[in-house]
Amino acid sequence: MTPSQDDTRFIEALTRHQAALEAFCHANLANREDAREVLQATCVKLWQKAADWNPDTEFLPWAFTVARFTILSHYRDQKRDRLVFDEDVIKAMADEVEEAATAFDTRREALAKCMKKLDQRQRGLLHDHYTVSQSLREIAKASGRSLSAVKMSLLRIRQQLSACIEREIRTNP
């Protein structure tokens, strides 16, 4: 069976924007595991609703709307103590999250440049925390540093990266 032209365009759009969609889920939930779970559920719903999307319109606003419903449904299934944001805060942040996630590709490109400015140790800390998923406590124990020192290092790196990303976007819009 050959896919229709619309199916092909849908698959292309979903593949191209999947990272931004994941960022959207993450920005709403502030939890990577939940974001991945919601992303999967969202992709399934998008596929089921593929016929509703008009390939002549932008994909992301439509996909964000579907994702938002999935996030709220996921939210209601969770225990409150597992969640970072309250439901009304998720709704209040909707516009800001959508704007930031729409610019995901630009921000990631800026981040790639900023990462090159970090030293080996800073990159190591980010890798251990975000790739290997070590908790800050585990990193502190393994490195012989205090937990507060590791927390502070991570905070400083994140701030450094944020400032650098904003600078990059301003100077190379």
């Binding site: 229709s4 979903l14 994941e22 992709c43 970072v84 309250d86 927390k151 991570l154």
Partner: protein, 326 residues
């Protein structure tokens, strides 16, 4: 600054499940539009960071594969090319299934991972002092190798100082390029605990150490001095490795990885990490920290070259980074 405050609160909620921090964070976001904008960007950037690190991590695994494939002379099954093949296969399957319209396939780049720290005796050198045992270690849990010593730094912490290049199994004046210090690590516990033969998961070993070079009188003679971490994997008895070194690498080696970085006198301490996939048949890991003069010559004094905080970790991840949803 509001950004720092938001990050702080977010960290407290995530790491400590701090309820007061959660309430304060939500209150702040409810009331302050600027806080909402900053928080949204911060979380999108965090996802960008995760995505960047994921890609970098996959690239470094593939690089290690390539290095391993080119450095290993034997023709064992090319298991270490598996990661690449799996990703390639995933992409092909994705395209085919996508075209058939049967469902949606996408790669999930960062599956759940588990991490174990493998025990290295005296990895921080804090309970050692004086010269390191000369020659190759023949049993687990001891450092041995070329001339090196454990010294106490000005802050009271101890570290290993590389003294002289040498040929670990040869005469003291044989040509050599490295000052290497070795330790054998037993992998049997890891094999039992994680069932490393399970094709559904793969284990990456990571050797990390902090290198530091101080200004020394011999620096002019050693412009290319580099620090390195190496991992060798074997399927043999630990004592056989020293006896057969270095031919044993070709005959019994099942895996290898090396990372080397040139360090200049007075540079900031540098973390060096070597990583390789754990072959299912490996029973022993040989970890090596070394200072290298980059050329073979009569043994030379190395001046102010140090290493500290040697750590060896294992990371297990599901093998196939693809999810299929019908």
């Amino acid at each position: 600054m509001i950004e720092e405050h938001l990050l702080n609160l977010l960290q407290q909620v995530r790491d400590d499940s701090n309820n007061a921090a959660r309430t304060e964070l939500n209150e702040l976001l409810r009331k302050d539009p600027e806080a909402r904008t900053i928080m949204s960007r911060m979380l999108v950037d965090e996802q960008a960071l995760v995505s960047y690190l994921r890609d970098e991590s996959i690239v470094s695994i593939l690089d290690a594969e390539r290095e391993d494939a080119t450095s290993r002379p034997t023709t064992r099954p090319a298991m270490r090319r598996m990661a690449f093949q799996q990703i390639a296969a995933a992409m092909v399957v994705g395209v085919i299934v996508g075209l058939l319209g049967a469902g949606v396939v996408w790669a999930v780049n960062s599956p759940q991972s588990q991490i174990r720290t493998l025990h290295i005796v005296n990895g921080d050198f804090e309970t050692m002092s004086g010269p390191v045992e000369g020659g190759f270690p023949s049993y687990f849990g001891m450092w041995g190798g070329n001339p090196a010593e454990v010294i106490e730094g000005s802050d009271g912490s101890r570290m290993l100082r590389f003294l002289k290049t040498g040929n670990v199994n040869g005469d003291s004046d044989d040509p050599a390029s490295n000052c290497s210090v070795f330790q054998l690590v037993d992998l049997s516990f890891l094999r039992q605990q994680w069932n490393t033969a399970d094709p559904g998961s793969q284990v990456t070993l990571k050797l990390t150490a902090r290198f530091h070079r101080e200004v020394a009188p011999t620096d002019d003679e050693l412009p290319k001095l580099a620090g390195s971490c190496r991992i060798y994997l074997f399927n043999t008895k630990p004592e056989a490795i020293g006896e057969g070194w270095p031919q044993v690498i070709r005959e019994e080696g099942v895996g290898f990885s090396k990372k080397e970085i040139k360090i200049m006198p007075g540079d900031e301490p540098t973390m060096i990490t070597a990583s390789c996939l754990l072959e299912s048949e490996a029973t022993v890991a040989l970890i090596v920290v070394a200072a290298s003069a980059k050329y073979r010559a009569v043994p030379i004094e190395l001046g102010g070259y140090f290493v500290d905080d040697v750590q060896f970790t294992a990371i297990r991840q599901p093998t196939l980074p693809v999810h299929y949803v019908k």
